[in-house]
């Protein structure tokens, strides 16, 4: 069964550094998402992406965050200047459609900011 893959599985970075989290969504999916889960807290929506544009973003997704689909297969999340509070599990997801299509999640990237 096709799956969403994320790399790396664990990323450690120093505060103020830039990080790029990578994702390969399922190939025939058109909608892409990033969610995050701070340890012990709920899974939170960050951003949705369709047709090479952000379709919706949360309050968390401020100017420090950006997303890109640099080619036909990858979907990336960039955090420009990481903060301690950015430490979390970041999940990429994709779906065939919106508003009624299940999301398929990757196994996540654990980001640790020191």
């Amino acid at each position: 069964e096709p799956e969403v893959t994320q790399t790396p599985s664990h990323q450690v970075t120093q505060m103020g550094q830039e990080v790029i989290l990578r994702c390969v969504p399922i190939s025939n999916h058109l909608y892409f998402y990033w969610y995050r889960q701070i340890l012990g807290q709920k899974v939170e929506f960050l951003v949705s992406f369709y047709n090479n544009e952000i379709s919706e973003k949360s309050e968390i997704f401020d100017d420090q965050f950006s997303v890109e689909r640099p080619d036909g297969s990858n979907f990336t999340l960039k955090i420009r200047s990481t903060k301690l509070e950015d430490s979390a599990m970041y999940f990429c997801a994709s779906s065939v459609g919106q508003g009624g299509s299940p999301l398929h999640f990757g196994n996540g990237t654990r980001l640790t900011v020191t």
């Binding site: 998402y33 969610y35 709920k42 929506f45 949705s48 997801a93 508003g99 009624g100 999301l103 999640f105």
Partner: protein, 110 residues
């Protein structure tokens, strides 16, 4: 506002027993979804129920939705040790922006 609050927070049962967990939400939804998360892993979609549906089945899973009470329940019948995981409900207002609850941790002992 908080959406998708699960109850109970934790559930411990023996293999073969049924597990029931509930989810309440506050605003209008397009659909409600249930996901499972094994420790340290991603979320796995279990079942989606649309706002105009009242009940849905998938294998050993049964989901109900009561939009008048803004609540949903997930029943896992004849549980197995492999069902040990956290279960989350997530509401979708229509744009794939899911709002997750805090989850129910289910432990199934052999």
């Amino acid at each position: 506002s908080q959406q998708g609050e699960e109850d109970p927070q934790a559930l411990s049962i023996q293999e073969g027993e049924n597990a029931t967990m509930n989810c309440s939400y506050k605003t209008s939804i397009n659909n409600l979804q249930w996901y499972r998360q094994n420790s340290g892993r991603g979320l796995v979609h279990l079942i989606l129920i649309r706002s105009n549906e009242r009940e849905k089945h998938s294998g050993r899973l049964r989901v109900t939705l009561d939009t008048s009470k803004k609540s949903s329940s997930l029943l896992i019948t004849a549980s197995r040790a492999a069902d040990t995981a956290s279960y989350f409900c997530a509401t979708d207002a229509g744009w794939g922006k899911l709002q997750f609850g805090a989850g129910t941790q289910v432990v199934v002992t052999p």
